[in-house]
């Protein structure tokens, strides 16, 4: 998967490039909007990381231009200024995520994976999460490309967790997701279903229970 990093600070750009390379991404760097536009025109990228404070046209202007040209390329904004106004503006302009400097390399990599995952889901109807492959349209779960049998409720739980991978899904939300399938369900029943799902997924992913809140599905680090 290929990522374009648009960042004028050499040290930051270099750190991002090296870090993402280690996480298995292919990375190209551009130091201003012109270079970035040229790179995007010439090659295919799965994701762009965009700094706001760029020399010449700033990141937000570049993003507006990008969206006006009809590109659906996922874009993550990197900035040192985390004001609410900037964040709202960036998301309104069509940014997919917003990360404030300084950040952890692992978090950056996880967010990049999540964005690419979501973008792939849109184009293929499939989600890949570590050793899991979730075919949303075909309602089928694969672990290491082997199909896994799930009951209707278990599938709804896996689907809800996978679509929100990396985020906490509250017990209430799972309850609602499952209850829509047939009659109402108690929170205890949700726990039973989750533990069955956990048994079927085994070590292929990390399914973490967060006391008092819900569950979070992650790919193993």
């Amino acid at each position: 998967m290929r990522i374009l990093v648009v960042e004028d600070d050499f040290l930051v750009a270099d750190a991002i490039r090296r870090g993402l390379c280690m996480s298995g991404f292919a990375v190209d760097c551009a130091s201003d909007a012109e270079q970035a536009a040229a790179a995007l025109a010439a090659e295919h990228f799965d994701l762009a990381l965009l700094d706001i404070a760029l020399p010449g046209a700033d990141g937000l202007t570049f993003l507006r231009r990008l969206r006006n040209s009809g590109t659906h390329l996922p874009v993550m904004i990197l900035t040192a200024r985390e004001t609410l106004a900037t964040k709202v503006q960036a998301l309104d302009l069509g940014a997919d995520d917003f990360l404030v400097k300084p950040f952890e390399q692992t978090e950056l990599a996880a967010r990049c994976r999540a964005l690419i995952r979501r973008s792939n889901l849109k184009s293929s109807g499939q989600l890949t999460l570590g050793r899991l492959r979730i075919d949303i349209t075909g309602r089928q779960l694969y672990v290491d490309d082997e199909p896994v049998e799930l009951t209707g409720r278990e599938w709804l739980i896996v689907e809800c967790l996978a679509l929100n991978a990396g985020r906490i899904v509250t017990k209430e939300r799972l309850q609602q997701a499952v209850a829509s399938w047939d009659q109402a369900i108690t929170p205890n029943a949700v726990e039973v279903h989750v533990s069955r799902v956990r048994a079927k997924l085994g070590e292929s992913v990390v399914l973490r229970a967060v006391r008092g809140l819900g569950y979070r599905l992650d790919e193993p680090q």
Binding site: D9, F10, L11, V12, D14, A15, I16, R18, G19, M22, A53, A80, R81, L84, V100, K101, P102, F103, E104, Q105, R167, I168, T170, R208, V210, R211, G212, L213, R216
Partner: protein, 450 residues
């Protein structure tokens, strides 16, 4: 010296000190005049008594069978009164011998003062023509000191009454000044109730005209101060922003470097570099958060109904990985609750409380974030079973840059100051207590009821 400065500074004392000498002088003059007037009347009354006795003696003589030679036995006077009756021939008829007589005057009855056997006398003399050509002289006298008891009583009572008058006057002045200064006290209380960073103008409408210039001047000062405070926090925010990009570069590069196989022999040195850089990064973020909390009076418009459960969920979400890394059991206990608040500031507030809990609770511990209602008031709370904050340190931990002596992890001492500032912006009460069974720390932010 300091005593005189203190007295010069108190209007009440100044006024009393100013009033005391003239009032005392007036009191002395009053006592003198009252005493003099009273003694004149008393003297007149006593003189009248002597005159009555003299007349009674005269009547006695006139009515005797031989007025020129009255019977001495029929002539007497009440106890304590001296008298002498001298016949027309100048011989003593009755009474004490050699009693002086008052000087002759235009009336038959004259008054005088004299000395008799070494004691002062007040005397009255009546010269009555008993037979043609012969004058009987009747003198009635009284020792001065037998009159002095009523005089002393009058003096004492005049003193007492005047003294009480002066005291009451001073008391009235004291109370009057107190009542008159009440608007100033109200202003003082308004100022005292403020925090150092609360620089709203005072309410000038409710103060009397005399105090108004003072309040106006104070408001002008507050305005200047808040301008300076805004400029300062803007500067801090700008600086923190400027620091972030280079810190991001350094941190990122270092993280990458640590993962490279070639760096293996340098791991421990790189790790300590990384720790230092993380602390620097954290400090820059905290400074920025504090500056933003300071400035948030300008963010007052973004106070809206905020779901505390969502605030808790976001905070837990951000910290799950860190909790797992530290071997802590992080959880939440939420009841639905909403509060009129700035959601961003609440994120900062809870983030800082959780940061402390995660930083100071040893591995294997438990951190729980709660929200809900307590007697109708919404609250946010973080409880841990870590080392706890000793009771004596609790008021101090809210100070900026204060760190409990001997505390381990690398904090910058701004976390709870930020929490305190944000709580203040929301009129919320911050309480630091021990956790369940007296272990750990429980910090609660209790918002005002709606």
């Amino acid at each position: 010296m300091s005593e005189s400065i203190a007295s010069a500074k108190s209007i009440r004392r100044r006024l009393l000190l100013f009033l005391l000498p003239p009032l005392t002088l007036l009191m002395l003059v009053g006592v003198f005049i009252n005493y003099r007037t009273a003694t004149i009347f008393v003297r007149a009354a006593y003189d009248q008594k002597l005159a009555d006795i003299a007349r009674a003696l005269e009547t006695q003589i006139q009515h005797s069978s031989d007025p020129a030679h009255p019977e001495p036995e029929s002539l007497n006077a009440p106890a304590g009164i001296l008298f002498s009756v001298t016949g027309g021939n100048g011989k003593l008829v009755a009474g004490v011998p050699r009693l002086p007589a008052a000087p002759v005057g235009s009336t038959p009855l004259t008054y005088g003062d004299a000395s008799y056997e070494g004691r002062d006398l007040r005397l009255v003399t009546c010269r009555a023509p008993t037979t043609p050509g012969a004058v009987t002289v009747i003198t009635v006298a009284e020792y001065d000191d037998s009159r002095s008891n009523p005089g002393r009583f009058i003096l004492a009572s005049t003193w007492l009454v005047d003294f009480i008058q002066v005291d009451i006057t001073l008391l009235i002045v004291w109370i009057g000044v107190h009542l008159g200064l009440k608007p100033l006290l109200t202003v003082r209380r308004q100022i005292e109730a403020r925090s150092a960073r609360e620089l709203r103008p005072l309410d000038a409408a409710s103060v009397p005209t005399e105090v108004r210039p003072l309040v106006d001047a104070l408001n002008l000062l507050f305005e200047m101060l808040s301008g300076a405070a805004r400029a300062q926090s803007q500067f801090v925010a700008d600086t923190a922003h400027q620091l972030r990009t280079p810190i991001a570069g350094l941190l990122g590069s270092l993280q990458v470097l640590m993962r490279e196989p070639a760096a293996a022999p340098l791991q421990s040195r790189l790790a300590s570099l990384y720790d230092g850089l993380s602390t620097l990064s954290h400090s820059a973020n905290q400074l920025l958060a504090l500056a933003q909390a300071d400035r948030s009076t300008s963010l007052a418009d973004v106070f809206r109904k905020t779901d505390l459960k969502a605030v808790v969920e976001r905070a837990v979400e951000r910290n799950v990985d860190r909790a797992v890394e530290c071997g802590l059991d992080l959880g939440a206990e939420c009841s639905p609750a909403t509060v009129e608040a700035n959601a961003r500031l609440l994120d900062d507030l809870l983030g800082n409380l959780m940061d402390n809990a995660l930083k100071y609770t040893p591995s294997g511990g438990r951190v729980t974030v709660r929200c809900g209602y307590e007697t109708g008031r919404p609250f946010l709370e973080v409880e841990d079973d870590g080392p706890g904050i000793p009771e004596v340190e609790r008021p101090r931990v809210l100070e900026r840059f204060y760190r409990i002596p001997g505390s381990a992890a690398g904090g910058c001492g701004l976390g709870l100051a930020i929490v305190d500032e944000i709580a203040r912006q929301h009129d919320a009460r911050l309480s630091i207590e021990s956790g369940a069974e007296g272990r750990g720390t429980r910090i609660r932010v209790l918002f005002p009821g709606s």
